[in-house]
């Protein structure tokens, strides 16, 4: 119990630190939202209108940085993330809600698939060390993981969609299919997600395969695995309950972290496939110096990573009895 309390304490402190950094960092960037606004509407809107816009957005006011910091924290507590500058007059929350399902769906599923598949391949290839599977698959995935994923994405688009025409080239769904919960819409979204998901899985699976295989090989040399064999347990039980169950523990935190980073989207993959996810929005926010959106996205990413790591800590505590008392 103390262990879990300490993890929660850590969570709160880190969250505060992240919020503060999140406040400071964008203000260190050159330029500012007011400059961006003026550039954007240059010559088309009269200065008075710009002035009122600035007031509406709450930028370029004369508060001291500390006052800004306090009102920033206060607004966050009320769930008020402000109005987006790039997508004015939409609220940041609405903009994010637009993109979030796409990214969570695509990158989240791809990450889970890569982890599960990679872990399974790692387990089996360590179990049959030196076998056919072990000598082929890990080497292949190491190579694919070394490729940058926007490059793999481009190759995939060229081969599977331009040359073979099996899959659509870009976007999250077809414009001619209306976005309602119908079977045609769902299958359309699925078809659109296959190539980007494949790209993410292909480039991220290698790490899971290798780490799991190495953890497994170390664990398989443990006496309790030999003991499990001596007990005459079935090979599957030894492989999963005795070897893999112990070997997976160090990988859980890494998996949680990567789940947290799902929110940031696989930025380049989303750009390559023109996918309407958070990664694409983040890029636009940076280009527009859209402070509220940028800050909220960074905040969301931090929050997601922190939540995921805390969840991993709880999961580890549940799976590994030794951590429960280590606090």
């Amino acid at each position: 119990m103390t262990y879990l309390l300490r993890r929660l304490e850590f969570f709160v402190v880190t969250l505060w630190a992240a919020l503060t950094l999140n406040f400071i960092l964008p203000r260190l960037l050159p330029g500012g939202p007011e400059v961006a606004l003026r550039t954007r509407f240059h010559g088309r809107v009269n200065p008075a209108a710009i002035k009122s816009l600035e007031v509406a957005l709450g930028v370029n006011n004369n508060d001291s940085p500390f006052q800004q910091y306090l009102s920033y924290l206060g607004n966050l507590l009320h769930g008020d993330f402000g109005v987006s500058i790039g997508f004015f007059p939409k609220h940041v929350v609405d903009v994010i809600m637009l993109a979030l399902p796409w990214t969570v769906g695509l990158v989240g599923m791809a990450t889970v698939i890569a982890f599960v598949l990679g872990t399974l391949i790692g387990i089996v290839s360590a179990w049959r060390r030196g076998g056919v599977l072990d000598s082929v698959l890990p080497s292949i995935f190491v190579v694919t993981s070394a490729f940058p994923y926007f490059w793999i994405g481009l190759i995939c688009i060229y081969v599977f969609s331009i040359t073979l025409g099996w899959f659509p080239q870009a976007f999250g769904s077809s414009s001619e299919v209306s976005s309602e919960w119908s079977w045609t819409y769902i299958s359309d979204v699925l078809v659109h997600s296959i190539l980007p998901a494949f790209t993410i899985v292909l480039t991220s699976i290698g790490g899971w395969v290798l780490t799991m295989r190495n953890n497994m090989i170390t664990t398989l040399a443990e006496d309790y695995v030999k003991m499990a064999r001596a007990k005459g347990l079935s090979p599957a039980r030894i492989m999963f309950h005795y070897a893999a169950r112990n070997a997976i523990l160090p990988n859980l935190v890494g998996f949680a972290m990567s789940l947290g980073f799902v929110i940031s989207g696989a930025l380049l993959v989303e750009i390559v496939f023109n996918y309407p996810g958070l990664g694409t929005f983040l890029r636009q926010a940076v280009n527009n110096e859209d402070f509220p959106l940028m800050q909220s996205l960074f905040l969301l990413i931090t929050l997601a990573v922190l939540l995921a790591v805390t969840a991993a800590d709880f999961l580890t505590a549940w799976l590994d009895p030794r951590t429960r008392e280590r606090a």
Partner: protein, 321 residues
Amino acid sequence: MVEYAAASGPVRAVDRVSLTLAPGEFLAIVGESGCGKSSLLFAIAQLLSPPAEIVSGSVRFLGQDMVTLADEDLRHLRWRSYSVVMQSAMNALNPVMTIGEQLRDATLAHEAMPGRMLRRRSEEVMRLVGIDPVHLQSYPHQLSGGMRQRAMIAMALLFTPQLVIMDEPTSALDVVAQRSLMIQIKALQREFGFAVLFVTHDMSLVSHFSDRLAVMYAGQLVELGGTRQVFKDSLHPYTVGLMQSFPSIIGERQVLQGIPGTPPDLARPPAGCRFHPRCPHVMPVCRVEESPVFTRSDDLVRCHLYANGHGPIASIHQRHD
């Protein structure tokens, strides 16, 4: 014969060792670290894993050769007919499962059993080794070293097998715990009548408990005989050396003598008798020719001193292996 594959060629860890164990017998195998005693044990238990493998020989148990037995058949024999107690109980128990879960695992692998009976059986074996059954809910790291070792023995007794193979089960314990564990093992053996194959480097530990003693050196069996017999009247110069290297509680005070030199590298064993570089009785023949095995009823010694009926005991006969 057991060989370990190594980059420089195979290393023979167990070389032409032949042992017979009678039902209910307590046989101790002693020797220095690296003499192949644990390799021999794991070869018998069919637990060698690469790079170690049995290159030739057989292990006959209950009328079957376990070396050629199919994995699936072997699996049914394991634990039910023979069980293993490993050297370090901390590492031999799965750290993420409770003792109870591990007992249940071993039981269910061989017998479908309703939960209530299973619990009763588990509590029974825990009481046998003197641990409170509440510790079925404990994880290995919550028990002391001695308790973990007892829990392992409890696990080994789930099916009251015919043979319990023990690899230095007491080496991680202090002397007091060692002795009480040995007494308990012996008592359990008397009660259930299983045979024990016990590997240790501590001769004085087994002196009061084993029926017969096998001495290994550099992968070979150099002497085998009744424990009393070997202690009173060691035949092989190596055994004699071992006897002089630990103190006797009774008897007069004497200077302990170690055996000079170190055990040979098994990748490049010395020519002739493997013990000759360290032997006080070395003869010219020892340097060139390996000694045959000489037997006297069930006893055995591998040393040139006993060739042609010479040496202290005339009734020794040469055996061809």
